[in-house]
Symmetry: C2
Subunit: 309 residues, 2 copies
Amino acid sequence: MTAAAAVGPGVQAPEGFSQWVNDATDRFQAVATEMLPSPDDVPQRLHQAMRYAVLGGGKHVRPLLVYAAGEVTAADCEALDRAALAVEYVHAYSLVHDDLPCMDNDILRRGQPTVHVAFDEATAMLAGDALQAEAFKVLADGALPASQTASLMRELAHAAGTEGMCGGQAIDLAAVGHTLALPELERMHRMKTGALLRAAVLMGALSGQAALLTESTREALAHYGDAIGLAFQVVDDVLDVEASTATLGKTAGKDAAQSKPTYVSVMGLEAARALSLRLRAQALDAIASLGPRATRLRDLADLIVCRNH
Amino acid sequence: MTAAAAVGPGVQAPEGFSQWVNDATDRFQAVATEMLPSPDDVPQRLHQAMRYAVLGGGKHVRPLLVYAAGEVTAADCEALDRAALAVEYVHAYSLVHDDLPCMDNDILRRGQPTVHVAFDEATAMLAGDALQAEAFKVLADGALPASQTASLMRELAHAAGTEGMCGGQAIDLAAVGHTLALPELERMHRMKTGALLRAAVLMGALSGQAALLTESTREALAHYGDAIGLAFQVVDDVLDVEASTATLGKTAGKDAAQSKPTYVSVMGLEAARALSLRLRAQALDAIASLGPRATRLRDLADLIVCRNH
């Protein structure tokens, strides 16, 4: 994917940003290729499934947020690499488990067979389990001072657990076939996808110079993360209705087919589109005071809201 | 379970140890009951499944190892509680996932329906996923200095990931129906069960006074953990052949029925029994120099090797 392609027809990507996205994506892909367990080491099949799950494309929104937030606190690239890997491993594991027959039973992801189709169900479950452990390992083995390492791991654990991703997933599971009011839908998405996107922003900033991460900067980034975390899901719901399976790389129209409550089903297509733009404005407002070191975060807010897949 | 019942007919539990086991087990059960997410909070079903998985009995060998190793470094009880919870959460999640239809497809665990039977498959998978995240969270939220917190999380992440539990599980999966030589069998078990038992010992010690955890003490504990970690599995294999389903609380004779390689199938029943006693001796040798502060670890080596379920 190129950044130019990812930004919708109404929005022009700013000069330099497309290149930054391509460079950051390439860097992440190279680092992940290097850091994931080797496909030739025992147990090979597990390692191959983990690599398939992480290296099989995707927009890498979370790593991009980590790298962009790291600019706010002048973080070292090597520290950001580890935070980016950790967040993407957790994201990848959640997709592998979501796609399993006992969950969404999906056979297509990013235009490719899902992990349990390409391998088998047991290997897919184990690969997800192992990726979650590896996420914490890659943080634990980094070179940052222990205080920062512990903060990073704390942020990730809270985002991944019952008050975050897994909790949101459980609410989603219970909601199939039911009507959700808007506040319940928002709560579910803030946990299911928002928490990890917010963690990506905070972990990028936590990887840098502690002196640059004042309490007010941290709060600004948390608000930014909350807003784009929710915006991401609203846009996903809109795209699920608007886009074709070919553009999305996954089965389009699936939410409606599964009677899953979405922003579009609860508030309508136009209102959902308008909400995504309000959330983008909130995200930009939150970091307005951070000046040029938050430029990439601003660009990413546009990329997230104005993408077409 | 009482400690007296757990120690086999040939071995007399030392005075005071049975009481220590009962006290530590009661303490752990009370702490877990308090610290696990409330069954009344959203998402209730997920929280209930997590509690069912952790609070549904079991021998609590890993928490006992944490508490016993904590005596070596004069650790505070509250710090040990968190290390014990973290290790037991990871153990519990692994059992929940192992029991799923795509893995062992087992319907009975500790004499009770497995989590996916009592709840459903999707909830069981999510409960396992959430327990792994909560394991890291309970460490991250503790009151120890960041250097100790980061070390604890590092130990757990390495024990849980591809070089530990998940890796061993993947090797086990690939071995069904195949013949394994003894070195391969040992490697599989050192990863699948040994790594987490070893981590329990080291995490107990890491929770205490850093000054008491010299390099030689750490090495002694690591050797102890390696030996009892393997002994635990050898004894499991022996019990799977010898004991009845009623005593085990899980389906007996399952390994043979599934053509899984075990110590008994590879080396025979008598040789496996003799190996477990040699490993006990190795464990005791490793911590011989630690004096009275390692008394509970010595008692636990006997409990692990001489148990009848």
